[in-house]
């Protein structure tokens, strides 16, 4: 482990000096513990070190733009802390100090279902107004990312796809690729609505269910509460939602005693139920 740590820190210092388009040969020549390795041993070590750095949040990506003469590795993954550091309105040392105190009480090293390793690249693409592509539920999507939001223990990307704002669960985003061109749009959204369907349906539904069951399941789906009445431990709710999949999951989890909703919305929920 000692050598691995040394190599990884050396890699980071190398990108400190020259942060863009570093060739594989340059990396090998400038890090002593790589230099003496055979080609195959170097390749194995380098790939392993890249994975370790990725787990920490660094992305070491090979950039090979067909329109550019330069090619080589770029290091990214620290743009947020760098932007905070440059912001004159923020007392950086105080920020860092708070970060280190909080870190002692929360454990961010644990395994997490959230596929949030992409978040740094996505955030850069949002800020630089780039287009991204990724695989989502077996389809390739090419979208303009607008923002991210957290809901029910999952992070979602809000992105414009064919001039419509849609939400994508970060867990299900694979093969993310970021476009090269910046400033491709000047759009800004004040809010990101969850949109599971191509066409939005605002559903109003009345429910009668146990209070505790509502409390532990209410974050399953995005909704607003219009009316809430409590009698003993039973809640009478009227809610609005656009999230048909989430509403169905909520109904399955909470098993309400009664449901009242307009006839035209029932087939939508039954369609999801029948897959």
């Amino acid at each position: 482990m000692k050598n691995v740590i040394k190599r990884c820190v050396s890699l980071l210092t190398l990108f400190n000096d020259k942060s863009t388009q570093i060739s594989t040969e340059y990396i090998r020549d400038n890090i002593s513990s790589y230099r003496d390795l055979s080609d195959s041993a170097f390749k194995r070590s380098f790939e392993r070190d890249k994975v370790l750095l990725r787990e920490m949040g660094y992305s070491l990506d090979y950039v090979n733009d067909k329109w550019s003469i330069d090619e080589g590795y770029n290091l990214s993954g620290t743009s947020i802390i760098n932007s905070i550091k440059k912001n004159k309105n923020i007392e950086f040392n105080q920020f860092l100090n708070t970060y280190h105190i909080i870190k002692k009480y929360i454990d961010s090293n644990s395994e997490n279902t959230n596929n949030i390793n992409n978040v740094s690249k996505l955030n850069d693409a949002i800020i630089e107004k780039k287009r991204v592509s990724f695989k989502y539920q077996n389809k390739i999507r090419k979208v303009y990312p607008m923002g991210i939001k957290f809901f029910n223990n999952n992070w979602y990307l809000g992105a414009e796809d064919n001039k419509k704002l849609k939400t994508y669960n970060l867990n299900k985003i694979n093969d993310l690729k970021i476009g090269n061109k910046s400033d491709l749009h000047d759009k800004e959204y004040k809010e990101i609505k969850f949109s599971w369907e191509n066409k939005d349906h605002l559903i109003t539904i009345k429910l009668n269910l146990n209070k505790e069951i509502y409390l532990i399941n209410k974050n399953i789906f995005n909704h607003s509460v219009n009316i809430k009445k409590q009698k003993n431990n039973l809640l009478n709710l009227e809610i609005n939602t656009y999230d048909i999949n989430g509403l169905l999951k909520f109904l399955l989890m909470t098993n309400p005693k009664t449901i009242t909703l307009r006839k035209k919305y029932k087939p939508l929920l039954l369609e999801v139920l029948d897959g």
């Binding site: 482990m1 691995v4 740590i5 040394k6 820190v9 980071l12 210092t13 190398l14 400190n16 000096d17 370790l52 920490m56 949040g57 993954g77 620290t78 743009s79 802390i81 905070i84 040392n93 708070t98 970060y99 280190h100 105190i101 909080i102 002692k104 009480y105 929360i106 454990d107 961010s108 644990s110 395994e111 997490n112 959230n114 596929n115 978040v119 740094s120 955030n123 800020i127 539920q137 923002g147 991210i148 939001k149 223990n153 992070w155 959204y189 809010e191 146990n210 505790e212 409390l215 974050n219 995005n222 607003s224 109904l251 399955l252 098993n255 449901i259 929920l269 039954l270 999801v272 139920l273």
Partner: protein, 285 residues
């Protein structure tokens, strides 16, 4: 004894020593959360690294007599950023799951709020204000309290006297690790399933659910459901996973009904299908 020093620990150490030049050794050990041997181990590794210009990566002097350590930080170390976006994002996520109060003299609630606000602005994060009810769970770390909690697979709350220790996450979601005062054991509580927190909870008698674990065979319509399982085996076109008890299995397959179907055992399959049919009946009325 040197416990496992990994790259994250090294990154954390580098980030901390940049905060100031002279440290008392005790303060540094506390801040980095390591012991003296681990400090020496870290210093040995880092002092063996040079920049490509031959400059030392880390230059330090230990004054053991006065319990002090001085870092002559070079430009290489000052320019290196070891706090990654991913790390900040994970911290942001965890501190926003719950209204967190740390029992620390050097940190106020305002500090945490302003830290969170800086991150929210730096990341392009949209929140859920005006769209949903905001949770008002307020956890005082290191202060004994009572929590009302519904275990996975159950629908009745139980009450625990706990000392909250740490906020973290696992495959089932965000988690509070806390010392159960009555059992003297550290237990994990899913934050989503904590109904209320506080000393004035009207406690009811505890109900124990002792059930055996259960293996469930299922097929999958959406592979992402497998990410929610700790362990599973592939059996030709089907999958098998172990659950802590029958109720947890039933709840898992109800929650993921559109992504996975139970094949066996019937005890789980029947309960899941009963729930589905009861919702179908409500929707076809």
């Amino acid at each position: 004894m040197v416990k496992k020093i990994n790259l994250k620990k090294v990154g954390n150490f580098i980030s901390i020593i940049k905060l100031k030049q002279i440290w008392t050794i005790d303060e540094l050990l506390k801040k980095v959360d390591i012991n003296y041997d681990e400090l020496l181990y870290l210093l040995t590794i880092l002092s063996d690294i040079y920049s490509k210009n031959g400059e030392y990566f880390l230059d330090f002097d230990i004054d053991a007599e006065n319990n002090k350590i001085l870092f002559n930080n070079t430009s290489v170390i000052n320019d290196m950023e070891t706090v990654t976006d991913l790390e900040l994002f994970k911290v942001y996520t965890l501190i926003n799951i719950i209204n967190l109060d740390l029992n620390v003299d050097t940190l106020t609630k305002n500090d945490i709020n302003s830290f969170s606000k800086i991150l929210k602005d730096a990341f392009k994060i949209y929140d859920l204000e005006n769209e949903n009810e905001i949770d008002s769970k307020n956890i005082n770390l290191n202060t004994v309290t009572t929590i009302e909690y519904i275990k996975l697979g159950n629908d009745k709350p139980e009450f625990y006297d706990v000392e909250p220790l740490l906020i973290t996450s696992n495959l089932e979601g965000s988690v509070l690790e806390a010392l159960d005062i009555n059992d003297s054991k550290i237990k994990t509580f899913l934050i989503n399933r904590i109904i209320s927190i506080g000393d004035d909870i009207n406690q009811k008698s505890k109900q124990k659910y002792n059930q055996n674990d259960i293996d469930v065979i299922f097929d999958v319509k959406d592979d992402s459901v497998l990410l929610k399982l700790n362990k599973y085996k592939k059996k030709e076109k089907l999958y098998e996973a172990k659950f802590r008890n029958k109720n947890i299995a039933i709840e898992f397959f109800i929650e993921n009904f559109t992504s996975a179907n139970v094949i066996s055992p019937d005890t789980v399959k029947v309960d899941v299908m009963n729930r589905v049919e009861s919702i179908r009946a409500l929707l076809t009325k």
